[in-house]
């Protein structure tokens, strides 16, 4: 086991006179900026572009105690072909499931291009011994998961044991091997944007491929301001190191209109380079059908009954 440094890497004081590495966030101004970006009026082709992109970025998610192979199979099929009546609709980015359902997902999705993502590390609380978390990660990767969505230990973070949080991420990243690592901060438990920024930088310093807002198990999951806060942290890391880290808002994004707002925010904060599923995902379950409905409305000029879109 790697030994956690006294100060987590990424937190030492730089000697060069440059940006403070951590910095702070002004809540009022951050929320005002997020609100103003949310007011962009996206119409016609620009809207269709966003809606199709949103589908390609969706991590279609089911994380219920009641999940069964049947349910996962149905959802996987939906992820591959969200609208069977329309050839032009792309597949989703990934299907996100609990570890035990990874084999079912892998069996259905192998060769389709849709990735299998699994939550791990004692999701959603993260309150388990590190060796259990590492073992769980190794298992899901061995079962064929392409991506691992881990949770940080918020208890450790909130009690100031940043090194523990950092070290766990490093270990899990190692256990991931080739699999991509998304680090869930569970922002609703962090309490302040300053903490969200710190946790984002900590996760990126420890090797996260993506930072993700929430487990979806709490209310107050992804919001526009908190996502903007994380995008700004990603931007600072990119400016300083050139590394491009991905972003995944998850939880609470249910309507196509919201998805468009998130993409506007992404585009105007990080630029066109990030408008790809390789660097942005939206964790959602009910969003997909609303996007499909809006696409059809945009193309035909009228709304269709929700019954024309499959409930999976």
């Amino acid at each position: 086991m790697a030994k956690a440094p006294v100060l987590a890497r990424g937190f030492e004081l730089p000697l060069e006179p440059r940006l403070p590495r951590i910095g702070s966030v002004d809540a009022v101004a951050l929320e005002a900026r997020a609100e103003s970006l949310a007011k962009r009026s996206i119409k016609k082709e620009a809207k269709l572009f966003a809606l199709e992109l949103a589908i390609r970025m969706i991590d279609l998610t089911t994380l219920e105690g009641a999940d069964t192979p049947g349910k996962v199979h149905a959802l996987a099929t939906k992820a591959v072909r969200p609208d069977p009546s329309d050839e032009s609709i792309p597949s989703c980015a990934a299907l996100c499931v609990y570890p035990n359902l990874v084999p079912t997902a892998v069996a259905r999705l192998r060769g389709t291009g849709v990735k299998v993502a699994s939550v791990a590390t004692a999701f959603p609380s993260g309150q388990s011994p590190l060796d259990v978390k590492v073992r769980e990660t190794e298992e899901v990767v061995a079962m064929g998961a392409d991506e691992v969505d881990m949770v940080i230990d918020r208890g450790a973070f909130l009690s100031g044991r940043y090194a523990k949080v950092y070290d766990e991420i490093v270990q899990v990243k190692q256990a991931c091997g080739e699999a991509h690592l998304k680090v869930i901060l569970e922002v609703a438990e962090l309490g302040t944007y300053d903490n969200v920024r710190r946790a984002s930088l900590l996760a990126m310093a420890a090797g996260a491929d993506f930072v993700k807002t929430s487990t979806g198990k709490l209310s107050g999951a992804a919001t526009l301001p908190v996502t903007l806060c994380m995008l700004e942290a990603i931007r600072d890391v990119h400016e300083e190191t050139g590394r491009m880290v991905g972003m995944k808002p998850a939880g609470g994004i249910r309507q196509a209109k919201q998805a468009v707002q998130y993409l506007v925010q992404l585009y105007e904060t990080l630029g066109a380079e990030w408008l790809t599923p390789d660097l942005y995902r939206i964790g959602a379950s009910t969003l997909l059908n609303d996007v499909l409905m809006q696409i059809r409305k945009e193309r035909t000029g009228r709304y269709q009954s929700p019954d024309y879109f499959t409930v999976d």
Binding site: P17, R18, L19, P20, G23, S24, V25, D26, V28, A29, L30, A32, R33, S36, K39, R40, S41, I42, K43, K44, E45, A46, K47, F49, A50, R56, V80, R81, E87, P90, S91, C92, G111, T112, G113, V114, E232, E239, Y267, E268, A272, E273, L275, T276, P277, D278
Partner: protein
Amino acid sequence: MTELEKKGKAALVPSGWDYAPAPESREIVRIDERYGHFVGGEWLEPRETYTTIAPASEEPLAEVGQATPEEVYGAIATAREAFENGWSGLPGSERAKYLFRIARILQERSREFAVLESLNGGKPIKESRDVDLPLAAAHFFYYAGWADKLEYAFPNRRPRPVGVAGQIIPWNFPLLMLAWKIAPALAAGNTVVLKPAETTPLTALLFCDVVRQAELPAGVVNIVTGDGRAGAAIVEGDVDKIAFTGSTEVGKAIQREVAGSGKRLTLELGGKAANIVFDDCALDQAVEGIVNGIYFNQGHVCCAGSRLFVQESIHDDLVEKLKRRMKTLRVGDPLDKNTDIGAINSRAQLEKIQELVAAGEEEGAEIYQPPCKLPERGYWFAPTVFTNVAQSYRIAQEEIFGPVLSVLTFRTPAEAVEKANNTPYGLSAGIWTEKGSRILWMAERLRAGVVWANTFNRFDPASPFGGYKESGFGREGGRHGLEPYLEFEP
């Protein structure tokens, strides 16, 4: 893998995302071909007229009156009559009713006003919709609340109205400045003759319609239009109080004219605000505040944060972030809901901006403008930032009143205060730091009427606004804003 599945995973990274045009419809507002002066509740046929245009397209919008001194004096006499025969004797609660009514009508017709404001003034619809109109209505609501509480606002001082107020307003926030002037004047029991700016008369003229709809007694609000000659006639006329918002040059001329006449005067003039950024600030939000401070309303803001003082240790990083942010500003059609920066208000203003920017380049400052395509017709100026600016450059001294920012540096808080105060103006200032004690230390020392901390260009009817030094005197907004419109028993 099917074709469909392959397509779904095609790694398409677009080179950009062109937002489709999203114009707010002009249909909602009806513009007459010709407007007269609004005096005594009636439209008077003007003796002379001129054409008011849309600065974004130079398209003529309407013929409006150029008031002669006789017409102005007539309006003042009408206002005096209305003051003496009714309005000043009306109970405060009655006056409040009219003001509440005006506020509600403004809210109901806000889209109409917003579209007209953007059309005639060039400002982006998102600003007229989200800032000008809500604030204008809020001012009427706020002062409506004071109308029957003047005795409580100034206890034991027996406040009474001064009489007829002559009010001259600028073109940067036409309807909002009208609200700042008319609401407190009426709440205090005065009647008014108001002249909107020459280039932006239309929302004031539409406001006459609101005055009628609210059934305000005739002659309480009179609007005359025209250029500086009409303004001069108001100043020379038989008014009891003059309220002027505009340039320092004209303000000085008014003060000279009024001297010894016994007329009360408040002036809200130019500014060259310092926006001071410390190294411990929330950097990304400070960048937003800087952008809002100088590019809001094309920089046509008297309290614009046009001098940016950056702590030298973060200068390079901050400027880099600022330039990056400037690239996302959308310049264009004021009626497009996605426009961030609209048209410059007039050809004269554009020429003034161009002249000062040329001076900045000549003096040796380094200019940056993000790539942006400006429309061919109309008056436009790209958002501009100057770095390597010395305190002695004209662009650091003179008010540009356009989307042009000058960046200077400082090393210590004391130096920041010294440099920030080193200007003939003193309207506003901004401080960006996470350290509360430093905000208080700075605010105590900055000679500016408004000091914003970790925000900029934020207005509220309850908050008094006004200047130090050559930025003027008198306060508008808040309880303080009533005082210039009241006499007190000795």
